[in-house]
Amino acid sequence: MLLEMKDAVLNYGKIQALHGITVEVEAGEVVSLIGANGAGKTSTMRALSGVRGLAAGSVIFDGEDVTKLRADQRLRKGLVLCPEGRGIFPGMTVTENLNMGAYTRKDKAAIEEDYDRVFGLFPRLLERKKQVAGTMSGGEQQMLAIGRALMSRPKLLMLDEPSMGLAPMLIQQIFDIITEISQQGTTILVVEQNAKQALTRSDRAYVLETGNIVKTGTGADLLDDPSVREAYLGVA
């Protein structure tokens, strides 16, 4: 088991966002998390990445208890989150943002390779290398955020709504990239509203509802589940 979150409870002030959920990710898997707005998907991601602490429960990554570690410490262990709403550094150029992805890395040569890989995936970024990221369009920023996450060479890459705000063609591309990265050996946990795509492409999935896991299974199983189809796929 690469990642294991047990009985996690997360509060925002008086509001309890996660009511003791358990999520597991096996090395090499693509796991997706689906659910309506406010179900707690982002909260799960935040708790996993260490941006927010848990009120109860634990997170075990790569056989090590990381519950008490800060986000930056977890990143060093290979647990990387590409946050919802992109979180690019608005005052830095595209290149500098990518640099930030490699902040903890020292392997110069491999970093160069990864640049090429990211620019290969997103040629638009290459065109805009010197643009200050804050002035880029929503979609461009999303590409940058994913590219930057890849620069960290994660063991487990967590993506929070990577397709949000992207044009249809790009969404397709993003999912292709996810598949590709996964084939290259990175484990992936993805949150998506785009449930159909997400379920098609993932090995397993969890369905969240108001801070609780209500269903779990393989992607294909859930795709066939009538209640899931009704609630999340818009097919009656």
């Binding site: 707005n37 979609g139 992207l166 249809p168 397709q172 818009g234």
Partner: protein, 316 residues
Amino acid sequence: MSEPTHGSTVEQEEVVLKDTSDHDEIAIETTGPDGSVLLEVDHVTLRFGGVVALNDVNFQIRRGEILGLIGPNGAGKTTCFNAMTGVYTPTEGKIRFKGTEIAGTKPHKINQLGIARTFQNIRLFPEMSAMENVMVGCDARHKTSVPGALFRIYRQRPKEEELPDNGIRRAFAKVFGISRHTLEERAGRRRSMELLRFVGIADRAHELARNLPYGYQRRLEIARALATEPELICLDEPAAGFNPAEKEDLMGLIRRIRDLGHTVLVIEHDMKLVLGVTDRIVVLEFGQKIAEGTPDEVARNPKVIAAYLGEPDDAA
């Protein structure tokens, strides 16, 4: 969960929670969907240093329609919005709203002219309750300023239904009238509640905006924009982050907004929503308009397919 919020700028106890199934009260006066031009983007070019975000873009919005604005990421859609709402001034070209040139006008003036918008990255007033957020929108149409709020001298003869129930106060109000401030506050509260119900989030009216779920926040933005009684309401990716079921709801909401008499301009990447709800679509790419027409026409347009839609069976 939704604890009463004392001492807030909205006193909630006076809110009338009657159910208005028909939404007449929030309708605004417009001339209706007569198809006349409401807003005209006239050969607009907008540059940021070297980047040409808009290049000689030219289109019109007609009264009463739902117009979609689509295009690949970075095509210039949001920029176009920003130019229309006074955030940016076009480098060249004109934008006319109801015949008046509005480029270079301050954002709050543009709002008073009758254009409201939502933001691609939600920008509510996070520490104010949902209700208060909408009240700020309502205030755009109110007149009370500092002296009015301080001294409350400006009095109006109230309509029968505005009179207080209490006998003495009633008599007082009949003789001296009620200050415009008080009347506006009451009207604002009533209207805000109706709008929250209209967008479907009245149950959390007194919660801080920052604590609302994402979807609620999006809807709250719409309610707040509607509160300013715009003739034209511009929605920037309102369905971002919605699941299909929620998108379905949103489509209904957009149609109902139009039915109230507002003209709607919507930027959206979700083709199902765009094709399903709009009357006409304008397509941008690299800052240029590459197509314009009914949803059917646009969806079949090879240029659009190549630039934007990709293979017909899209991701949604």
